[in-house]
Subunit: 560 residues, 2 copies
């Protein structure tokens, strides 16, 4: 696209609502406009991002045999009445009468319709699940309307429903979809964790929520209650990371070390090594990382290794004997053992950890950047006691989060009211929602930096922004810019070229606001040196590429 034809809708004014910078950025970046409380208009930038998210989900749902359908937005009341759910929702539902005085609802979720559909179809089931899904507008008459995409009256959701004749089949599909959702977040690049949750109004016997830990979240995530927590994709921006350093602290000055550690209590991660004696007589070592003020719960470890006979935390002496390292300097580096970190560590940045070099600690360490093969699990003892002891105000337990998806093992809650098929006694169901608006908001929160938006390549409206400097006054710049532009268009790579006659600063501002992750800057000065400037905003990297290598470079970068 060319900026003369593709209107950006960016705004130049300062942020007016400092309470929710992400929402303000979405307005400044020309993604959304509020029509009235809880109701938004999506602009071209947003539609492109949403389409990309939708396509990622479609691809993944296809892999597990999902069938895309579309149910209507308006639902007859009679259907909701049948299952009795109407009265559970009541005030959250938008209700209206048609000209024949029949009552209708605006669907907030579609279990009723899909179940009605399924039983009318009289589909043959033979141990084989049916998975239906749709993208559709959903409606909720919320009490707590927020002026952002997290909680609105009308929103886009992808909901999926599965049907089964036996529990094993339902269990399999439930797990399949759980993994599919994790994979979707991984492909998008959104850091999401999941946990068991209550079934609530939707119902069923088991449910899992998927959360993005967010400053603007409405959920309070009790990290310790996680059964299993896993960060999918620790692709943070570098911007918040401080410089990684070796910190010298001589062991004989143990007091000084202690002071340093207590001062940095929330930032110090302790390393332990445990030895697991397995039933088959083979023993394994594992590295455990845990907050300095917590202790390891060996029962939880034992649950992870059901084949263990005995589990032992290696003591100071053993460690010194085996690794020649004083225990306080023990770290996860350079040892070829599996690393398990306590789930409460997941949001630590710029933390302090042992270096495996005596008399040195590493500071400003960050996940993924310095430690990337780590499993996050709940391995610590309930730590309320410790928190009291060290720091009353420590707020590690509760984290605000945005619920981006929720899945339910429904069993026969909705199918119970239908006539049974032939010999099949029960039709079991599951349902699975993903909030598209919430994903969109969360991605912007995760990647945005310094009041500018960065979108990951997976979903950005444009993969590359071409910024020619003095496009209309320099033939060389003009020719090479359009040559690259046409090359990318031909390869069907989404690219935006600046062809308005405006200043570099303005261009940069616009392109940064709409979240383009990569820029290619084409200026006469650089062309005289036969190079172009390529900026990777995600990794905060600038590269200079030779003109004759640029086509190969870009093609390789975007070919997928």
């Amino acid at each position: 696209m060319k900026t003369k034809k593709y209107f950006l809708f960016t705004k130049k004014n300062n942020l007016s609502n400092k309470n929710n910078i992400i929402h303000e950025l979405m307005i400044k970046g020309g993604f959304i406009r509020k029509l009235c409380s809880g109701i938004f208009i999506l602009l071209p930038n947003a539609l492109k991002v949403i389409n990309n998210i939708v396509n990622i989900i479609k691809n993944e749902m296809f892999k597990i045999g999902g069938l895309e359908i579309q149910m209507p937005v308006i639902t007859p009341f009679s259907l909701w009445n049948k299952g009795g759910r109407f009265y559970n929702y009541d005030k959250e539902l938008y209700k209206f009468y048609d000209r024949n005085n029949k009552m209708f609802l605006l669907s907030p979720t579609n279990e009723e319709i899909i179940t009605e559909f399924f039983f009318r179809e009289n589909l043959l089931l033979s141990g084989y699940p049916y998975i239906f899904y749709q993208f559709n507008n959903k409606f909720r008459d919320e009490i707590r309307i927020k002026s952002n995409l997290i909680r609105c009256k009308e929103f886009i959701m992808k909901d999926a429903y599965s049907f089964h004749t036996n529990l094993k089949c339902l269990d399999n599909t439930y797990l399949n979809i759980l993994n599919t959702y994790l994979n979707i977040f991984k492909i998008i690049g959104l850091n999401v964790c999941y946990k068991k949750a209550k079934c609530g109004k939707i119902g069923g016997i088991l449910s899992h929520e998927f959360h993005f830990i967010s400053k603007y979240g409405e959920n309070k995530l009790n990290i310790d209650k996680f059964n299993y927590l896993n960060i999918l994709n620790l692709k943070f921006n570098n911007f918040n990371f401080k410089m990684f350093k070796k910190f010298k602290c001589l062991y004989f000055n143990i007091n000084k070390i202690d002071k340093f550690i207590i001062k940095n209590l929330n930032n110090f991660i302790r390393t332990y090594i445990i030895k697991i004696y397995l039933i088959n007589k083979k023993n394994i070592f594992i590295i455990l990382l845990i907050n300095n003020y917590k202790s390891i719960d060996l029962i939880k470890i034992k649950n992870l290794y059901p084949l263990s006979n005995k589990i032992k935390i290696l003591n100071k002496k053993y460690i010194f004997k085996k690794f020649k390292i004083l225990d306080i300097f023990l770290g996860p580096f350079g040892l070829n053992y599996r690393i398990i970190a306590d789930c409460s560590l997941i949001n630590y940045i710029n933390f302090i950890i042992g270096s495996n070099i005596n008399n040195y600690l590493f500071i400003n360490v960050n996940w993924k950047k310095h430690l990337n093969i780590v499993t996050f699990l709940d391995i610590s003892k309930n730590f309320s006691l410790y928190i009291k002891k060290f720091n009353k105000n420590i707020n590690i337990i509760k984290k605000k989060s945005i619920e981006v998806a929720h899945i339910f093992k429904l069993l026969d809650k909705y199918s119970l009211n239908y006539k049974k098929n032939n010999n099949i006694n029960k039709i079991l169901m599951g349902c699975y929602g993903i909030g598209i608006y919430r994903i969109f908001f969360s991605v912007i929160e995760q990647y945005s930096y310094n009041n500018k938006i960065i979108l990951p390549l997976s979903i950005s409206s444009f993969k590359l922004g071409i910024i020619p400097i003095n496009l209309y006054n320099n033939k060389n710049v003009y020719n090479i810019s359009y040559k690259i532009y046409k090359f990318l268009i031909k390869k069907k790579i989404d690219v935006l070229i600046e062809n308005r006659n405006i200043y570099f600063g303005e261009i940069l501002n616009d392109f940064e606001l709409i979240g383009i992750p990569n820029f290619l800057i084409i200026s006469n000065n650089l062309l005289l040196l036969n190079i172009l400037e390529f900026r990777d905003r995600i990794n905060n990297l600038t590269q200079f590429i030779r003109v004759n290598e640029i086509f190969n470079f870009l093609f390789r970068k975007y070919k997928n």
Copy 2:
């Protein structure tokens, strides 16, 4: 896709509702299901077709600078009240109150929201139009609900809106969009004609409707009132066409000819040649085709050629002198003149026309097949008199049709209530709707044949259906089938392969019902001869392709 993974939802039972066969076919073909009166569920087959239609429209809108946005489904009443349109619609609107007793509507159209948006944005206008469009669910509380996609309570529409500072800019955009819509129908392959229409509730000073002539239409199209009518794409199926024949009728037996012609009154097309004397002294000849019982309106012809001095219909004598043909046998073939046909002839099939060979008429002639460069215009005199004379029951004047699109030159009807910008006195608007459901229905009506659906390649869910015979019992069949399948998947061509273990007849039935336009049949018998069978259902053609040529053949066929 493989049929084991892609559930077809086809039904085997006979058609139950013979009143609307197309609707029944859409149910049998697994496209739609009725949830309740006027409300439908779209199944995977339908979503694929609708996505293809949507993508064609997006592409064409992009070319004229259209910006895709998405407005909400629920609209505050206050906006509709502002322009006063609420009371015009009233009963057609679904209205409801939220928990704070604010009134909302389900939008049947979005002029109010887009105008509000536009003025809030305070966009700069400088002779340059803004064109916004969206695909969205629309809602109408219809009195006359039909049990099909033509008139329902909830439906998918693409609506577009344009904003201008001067009439010239609006005029240009209006014409641009009119042409874009014609182009969209042409790409889809839907035979659509358009005409001036009343502005009605939407308002404005000019409007055009786009119609598909349909047995199931609710509109009555008065063909003679057309200002201009043009069939975009005469891609009929061959199936209804009878064999083209030369019919011998000796001229001296004029009585017999007359009887024959009177008997076939509705099917006989008369050929005239007119001579136009132009102001620049150059004269031109034109062939006019007209119903046998009508006569040419020379004033209408003169309007078509404003530079003409005089227009003369060539008489019998002149024709015989110049062409050596008796006037009754005169036809449009083999003469190098422009051919203009009266617009009322557009739906003629298997008609009779002069052959340009004395003593012969051609019968079972069809547009496009035998006569393809024809312009359809209104050239006949008001013919009510003639109809009375010949045949009282002739019903050529009124044709039932489906309105598939409607565009409006609104001027300032909706923008009048907003504060004016700086020096700009008036903001002018246009609005432009296309009904996606109606296009879908119309395409099926146009192409379906013998209670089976054929969809054109432009929008079919799959371009090709691969039908292996005895897939699991013959290694050769299996290997070549999957080789072709994988080749097409790699080339990103939509293909469906049959891999259930069912009979050929069942496969054929399913594939025909879901409208796949091309089949590739792979059987051991043919493989022994080193060939495959390719069926083109649109043109009713069967080709046998050599195995080593099949990849090239398919790639060439589907590469666009």
